[in-house]
Each structure stands twice: as structure tokens, then as C-alpha cells.
């Protein structure tokens, strides 16, 4: 029982990332009709926003410490961050320590700008082109973006830690009456799950309870009629692209402490996120979220030794097996609507 609970918890944070990326993908597909293979790159750029802010906060001046020597035997050059010089070692240290949560504020405008630039600069030229063209151009863009990031940040993962206060793990086992250490779960992963829930709730509320959201939903259902009513739906859809980019970016920022960011982390998530979108049902926002969590949890279960001993290698294929089963039984996915991508 404790092992099952443990894997459900494990699946939640992975599912959160899938759900957030798939949510953005579905938003873009639902509004603009574009299959955006560069969405994983937006997740990666978000994570690198956290890395960049960490580097900005760590900008340092150099001091020579005559008591120590470097590897060549010269006096050691010690780097002192400006933040610590300005605010004192303790306060400055805390600011650097909190660089990931602070990066949320940094990432929102950056990601909206990146989203706008991507949509206006490239993707709008492909609205009327076949989906295959859209896939090729966005996939190419993803490769370009990851190579640019690799050029500036290198190929190795860059450690981007959570604040000291959120390191360590919470013992759910004791809370639920199991043995100590039976179900432990890192604090930051809990925060990631809560954060994803807030973002998903926020996006749904925005679409459900605001006039802007209502127009967007109407545009998703019938773009032509909304246009005939004199509403500039394209402008709103461009905004939605920016919003989707920001959602993917924030997912990336908060994911940085879970796995050190590297330039190809977007590709690692992209394919699985597309499976999530298809399983959830193309164009269905609740479907994307539900499928994200479902596949995250299933992937987690498939990694259990007990299951792997029965079916070796199942952890690597479980998502695709489930996708095949669901698409065979429900060809439009879990919550897919009739008419989407069927013309």
C-alpha cells in the first residue's frame, strides 16, 4: 500500500510538468490551429530563465586572497557577488538562495516576449500551411533554440537549487500511520505540484470567467463567426500564444531545482507531452490536464521493481502502450471533441 501511495506521489510532479506543457500545446492548437513542436523549447527556456537570474544574482567582483593559492600556485582570486556586497553577506546570500522563486517574476515578461516574437516572427506565416509544414518549421525552431542555449550555457547540466528552506523531504508515512521513511517526498516537488495546480486553475478561470476568455473560447469554437462580429480574434489568439509560452516557461522555472537544466530538456518532455495531448483529446484543455497526470502516474508505477520484474522494460514504453489502447477504444482521446483535426 505504501509503495502504491509513493508512486502516486511520484507521478504527480511528473504529471504536473506534462500537464502544464500539454496545456500550453492545447491552447495554441485550439486557438491558432498550430501544432507547435517548439513548445518543449519554451519549457527549456523557462528553466534557463532560472539559470540566468541565478547568474545575474551571482555577478561578482574579484578579490585576491593572499592566504590561498590557485591551481597554478598564484594567489587565489575569490569572487564576491555584488548582491552580498550591497546587502550584506546574510541578506545577499538569502537573495541568491531564493533565485528560483524570484525567477518566476523574471520569466513571465521574458516568456511572453519570446512567445510574441515566435508567433509574430515565424509561426503566423504558417497558419494556412499544412500541419506537416508547421511541425517541420517548429521542430527546426526548437533545434535552433536549443543550440543557441547550448552555445551560451554549455552542454552540461547546470545546478539550480531550491531555496534552503525547501530542501529535504516530508515523511508522509508517519502522517498516514506507516513506518518512518516508507513514504517520503521532497518539499520542492510538493511545491511544484501545488504551483502547477494554481497555474492550471488560473488558466481555466481566465478562460471561463473573463470576457477575454469567453471571446477566446468562442473563437476556438467558431473563429469565422467571431470575426464577423467585428472582434479582432487574431490579436487575442496572439496573446494566447504568449500566455501558453508563459505557462510552459513557468513550468520550466519551477522544474529547474528538480533536475538541473540542460539544453535538451525540452526535447525530453516534448514527445511525451504530445502523447499527452493526443491521449487527452486534441484541443481539449481538461483532457490535456487529466491525461498529463494519468500518464505521469502510470509512468511512475511502471518504474516499480515489482512491475518491471514481470514485464522488463515496461517503464520505457508504458505511455505509448496506454496511448495505443486509449486511441483504439476512444479515437478522439479521453475528452476529444468531434471535428478537431478531422477535416
Amino acid at each position: 500500500m505504501d509503495a502504491i501511495l509513493l508512486q502516486i506521489l511520484n507521478g504527480l510532479d511528473k504529471g504536473s510538468a506534462y500537464a502544464l506543457i500539454a496545456l500550453g500545446l492545447t491552447l495554441i492548437f485550439g486557438t491558432l490551429g498550430v501544432v507547435n513542436f517548439a513548445h518543449g523549447a519554451l519549457f527549456m527556456i523557462g528553466a534557463f530563465c532560472a539559470v540566468t537570474l541565478q547568474r545575474i544574482l551571482n555577478l561578482s567582483y574579484e578579490e585576491i586572497d593572499p592566504t590561498q593559492t590557485d591551481f597554478l600556485g598564484n594567489p587565489l582570486v575569490v569572487k564576491v557577488p555584488y548582491v552580498q556586497a550591497w546587502f550584506g553577506p546574510e541578506m545577499g546570500g538569502s537573495i541568491i538562495d531564493w533565485s528560483v522563486p524570484l525567477a518566476i517574476l523574471f520569466a513571465i515578461p521574458v516568456m511572453i516576449f519570446v512567445g510574441f516574437a515566435m508567433e509574430r516572427g515565424l509561426i503566423k506565416h504558417f497558419y494556412k500551411r499544412p500541419h506537416a509544414d508547421q511541425i517541420l518549421v517548429t521542430f527546426g525552431l526548437a533545434i535552433v533554440l536549443q543550440e543557441v542555449v547550448k552555445y551560451f550555457y554549455g552542454a552540461n547540466p547546470i545546478p539550480t537549487g531550491a531555496p534552503e528552506a525547501f530542501r529535504g523531504s516530508f515523511d508522509f508515512g508517519v502522517l498516514l500511520g506507516f513506518d518512518p521513511n516508507a513514504i517520503i517526498y521532497p518539499y520542492w516537488r510538493l511545491i511544484y505540484f501545488a504551483f502547477a495546480a494554481v497555474i492550471i486553475g488560473g488558466v481555466f478561470s481566465f478562460l471561463q470567467f473573463t470576457t477575454f476568455g469567453m471571446v477566446v473560447r468562442a473563437g476556438m469554437a467558431d473563429r469565422e463567426t467571431v470575426g464577423l462580429l467585428g472582434i479582432n480574434i487574431d490579436k487575442r489568439f496572439t496573446f494566447m500564444f504568449g500566455l501558453a509560452a508563459a505557462v510552459a516557461g513557468l513550468a520550466g522555472v519551477m522544474y529547474a531545482p528538480i533536475n538541473s537544466p540542460n539544453y535538451h530538456m525540452g526535447m525530453d518532455f516534448l514527445v511525451l507531452s504530445f502523447v499527452v495531448v493526443v491521449v487527452g483529446g486534441m484541443g481539449s484543455l481538461p483532457g490535456a490536464v487529466a491525461a498529463g497526470f494519468l500518464l505521469g502516474i502510470l509512468e511512475s508505477f511502471a518504474s516499480m521493481n515489482e512491475i518491471k520484474s514481470i514485464i522488463p522494460g515496461i517503464d520505457q514504453i508504458i505511455i505509448y502502450v496506454v496511448a495505443i489502447i486509449i486511441l483504439l477504444t476512444r479515437p478522439r482521446g479521453l475528452m476529444g471533441r468531434k471535428g478537431v483535426m478531422e477535416d
Binding site: 508512486q7 591551481f71 575569490v78 547540466p157 533536475n259 540542460n262 509512468e299
Partner: protein, 448 residues
């Protein structure tokens, strides 16, 4: 009546094919004179540096390339001469190799076996490389070694740690200076028993490919021999990025040590995840829970950040060693590039010098003469103490370092501290050891 369509395009196509066909034997003959592949005829000799320039190990590849460039500079008489000054063999004079100026071409392995073979093939066939060296993965090393054997050129392996490279997949034309999984186990296990005691239960997470399997087997055998129990070994996919679902069950398994048989991005992520789960703060079976990373690399340690502190592992070499060879190499490399070399850079630099020296001693670039010169070659002054290139399997035997993640690093390069220099005698094994059985060295192939 038949109709003949002769078009300009058709004539051009036919002509191109016929011309190419006629040129092919000339091309092959050019590669095949003097009885071996790519025998250098002019005043230069070309070496092929096959390193990961793209993909996840690109930074390691970049460091390897820096080392190769430095080695070429020193071989051609440039710079301060580096380890040529400390190398026990004095056959090299700083005038290239056998008086021929050393030139090089580079290839990108992408850390993919097929891409690595393609780039090595291109360097041999198109660029006339007489020796191929480099790489950051055992899968790549085994693949390229096989290709070099068939092509009749020497392969001086870069960073490859699988037992198989000089075990079941060994080849007469291939040589490895880097240490291997067995040596890691033999060096590390006594230190682990010393520091953590002999009554320990280990849980292994292992990358699911040749290197992971052989390292896990080696570490488990070495630790079990000292009284440890291996509770479980879970194979993880090489493409895995989040290891939480593999790490979560560890604490409940009764194990009190987690051994991460991972390298590169796998190691960074699995270690980061393990630390996140608070494993190192836990107490199991009345003992502190410990994590072990048998193969450390400074470039990977940077990725893991503070998580590496206090964790034991092994390396082939470290820039903080105080022998003359190391000090000279670190000075040359540090002065040129501004930071100390990694172990990947060291092994690649040394391999280039060893090849050049073997050619100089043999008086020929013929691969079979080079093989003969390297087999059973004893040398010193290259950073690992007295070293032997064993004839039976073309594996170097030398001291191995046990290292620990430094608690208070002074810079981003100062991440590991040497805990023990394990003497060569402790990591030696018989050529027919079961972990290395199954393959045959065969005979050298000069190609042509």
C-alpha cells in the same frame, strides 16, 4: 524502330558514374601504399581526433580537444613541451613524429556509435588519418575500435570505463589508457569498508548499457568480497531524466547505501534526485545512509553542484596530484586555457604522446610496428606513476584514485579531493579474469 533518347542530363550522369568508378581504384591505391593504411608520404602525418562536439558530452569533448591541440603543439616542438619533459621515454624530440609535422582532423562522435563510426571512417578514408583517438563513452569506444581494427589503423581510446573495451570487445589495434570498472571496484571497495564499515546493504541503480552493467558487476563483486550485501540492482533507461520513481523505494528496501552506476547527465540527475529525497539525512539500520558514485568526473561534478559534497568515488587522474608529470601538464594546460584539465583531457593527451612515442621507438607508422612497441611498454612521468600497457589485452595498469566531493571548494574546478592513491598492484587482475572473458585480441591489422 527503336527510339534513343539522349539527353544532356543523362550523359552527365553516366559520365559522372563512370568517372567515379574509374577514380575509385586510384583512391584506394593511394590509401594503400607502403603496406599499411594511410602511410604518410609527405612531410606531415595526420591524426584523427574523434570527440563528442555536440550532444550531452560536448563539454567533455571540448576538453578532450583542448588536450589534443596541446599534445600536437608539444609534439611539434611548440609551447613548453609539457609532459615530453617528464615522460620516461625520450624517443620524442619535439620535431613531430619521425620528423613529420603532426596535423590533425576532428570528427564529432555525438556520443552515438553510428555517428562516431561514420566520422572515424571519414577521417580514415578522406583525410588519411593514421590513428584515431578520443570519445567519451564505452559504446562509442567499442564501435570505433572495431572499425579501426577493420580499417587497419590504431585506435587510442579516450574516456571509456567499461570492462568490455579491453575485455570481450578488445582488439589488437585498440589501446586503452583509462582505467575500468573492475579497477574502480578494487580501489574503492576497501575505502568504502574503511569509512562505512563492512556490515552494509547496498542498493544499485545502474545505467542500462555495457558500461553500467560491467561497473555494477565490478562494484558489487568488490564490495561483497568485503562483507557488503547487495540488496537490489535496478536497471534504469539511459534516456531517463527523472529518477524519483527509482529512488523512492530505496529507503524502504532495507538498504543503507545507494550506489549510482550512472555517468554524465544520468549521474547528475540521479544524485540530485537522491539528495532531494533527503537520503543522506536518513538513518537506516542504525547507520547514516550513504551514497556512492563509483566513477566521478569533474565536469559532471560541476553539474551536480553542492550535492557532490562528501560523496566517495574513483577517478583515473586528478589535477591536484603532486607528481612532476601532473604538475607539468597542469601548468601547460592551465597557462594555455586558464583552468585545470579534466581527467578526460589528461587521458587523451597521454594517449597521443604514447602513440607518437611508440611510432618513434618503432621507427614506423605501420600499425603492427606500433602495436609491438606499445605491448608490454613500461613508462612513467605521465601522471599516474609507473604504468604498464599490458600485452595481453592492451589495458594500462597504473595507480587509481579514490576521491571525495570537497566540502569547501575554492573554485568551480576544485570539486574533488583525493582520499587515496590506490597502488597499481591492488587493481591488477589476470587477463583471463571472468569479467573480461569472452573476446580475443586477434592479430594486428595493418590494412591496405
Amino acid at each position: 524502330m527503336s527510339k534513343m533518347d539522349v539527353t544532356r542530363r543523362g550523359v552527365l550522369k553516366t559520365g559522372a558514374v563512370a568517372g567515379g568508378g574509374l577514380m575509385l581504384p586510384t583512391y584506394l591505391r593511394a590509401a594503400g601504399h607502403e603496406g599499411f593504411t594511410n602511410a604518410p608520404t609527405g612531410s606531415t602525418v595526420t591524426l584523427g581526433f574523434n570527440v563528442p562536439q555536440t550532444g550531452p558530452y560536448a563539454d567533455e569533448g571540448a576538453d578532450e580537444l583542448r588536450a589534443y591541440e596541446l599534445a600536437v603543439e608539444h609534439l611539434n616542438g611548440g609551447g613548453d613541451g609539457g609532459m615530453l619533459n617528464t615522460f620516461s621515454s625520450k624517443a620524442l624530440e619535439g620535431n613531430g613524429i619521425l620528423g613529420k609535422k603532426v596535423e590533425y582532423v576532428t570528427g564529432d562522435t555525438q556520443t552515438k556509435s553510428d555517428a562516431a563510426r561514420a566520422s572515424a571512417k571519414s577521417m580514415i578514408e578522406k583525410d588519411g588519418a593514421v590513428m584515431i583517438t578520443g570519445g567519451s563513452s564505452s559504446g562509442v569506444a567499442v564501435a570505433v575500435q572495431g572499425l579501426c581494427q577493420e580499417a587497419g589503423v590504431i585506435f587510442m581510446a579516450g574516456l571509456t570505463h567499461s570492462n568490455d573495451t579491453t575485455g570481450k570487445d578488445k582488439k589488437a589495434n585498440g589501446f586503452r589508457h583509462f582505467f575500468n570498472g573492475y579497477m574502480s571496484g578494487a580501489a574503492l571497495a576497501p575505502v568504502l569498508a574503511d569509512v562505512y564499515g563492512t556490515d552494509r546493504k547496498a542498493y544499485h541503480l545502474t545505467a542500462d548499457y555495457t558500461w553500467g552493467w560491467t561497473q555494477q558487476e565490478s562494484i558489487a563483486a568488490a564490495t561483497e568480497a568485503l562483507g557488503w550485501e547487495t540488496v537490489n540492482n535496478v536497471l534504469t533507461p539511459l534516456a531517463a531524466t527523472d529518477f524519483s520513481s527509482y529512488i523512492a523505494p530505496v529507503l524502504n528496501s532495507g538498504a543503507d547505501v545507494l550506489v549510482l552506476n550512472h555517468y554524465g547527465g544520468n549521474m547528475v540527475n540521479s544524485l540530485t534526485n537522491a539528495v532531494q529525497f533527503g537520503l543522506r539525512e536518513k538513518e537506516i539500520n542504525g547507520k547514516n545512509f550513504e551514497i556512492v558514485v563509483p566513477l566521478f568526473s569533474r565536469l559532471m561534478a560541476r553539474g551536480a553542484g553542492a550535492n557532490i559534497k562528501g560523496i566517495l568515488g574513483s577517478t583515473n587522474w586528478h589535477w591536484s596530484l603532486q607528481d612532476e608529470g601532473t604538475k607539468t601538464f597542469v601548468k601547460s594546460f592551465g597557462t594555455k586555457y586558464g583552468f585545470p584539465p579534466s581527467q578526460a583531457a589528461h587521458t587523451c593527451y597521454v594517449q597521443t604522446l604514447l602513440y607518437a612515442d611508440a611510432v618513434a621507438r618503432a621507427g614506423s607508422f605501420n600499425p603492427c610496428a606500433v602495436v609491438e612497441a606499445l605491448e608490454g611498454f613500461e613508462f612513467d612521468g605521465l601522471g599516474n606513476g609507473p604504468t604498464l600497457y599490458r600485452a595481453e589485452d592492451h589495458q594500462c595498469f597504473k595507480d587509481v584514485l579514490v576521491v571525495r566531493g570537497k566540502e569547501n571548494p575554492t573554485s568551480e574546478f576544485d570539486l574533488l579531493e583525493v582520499v587515496q592513491v590506490t597502488p597499481r598492484a591492488q587493481v591488477e587482475y589476470a587477463p583471463d579474469h571472468p569479467m573480461f572473458a569472452g573476446g580475443a585480441l586477434g592479430t594486428c591489422n595493418p590494412g591496405a
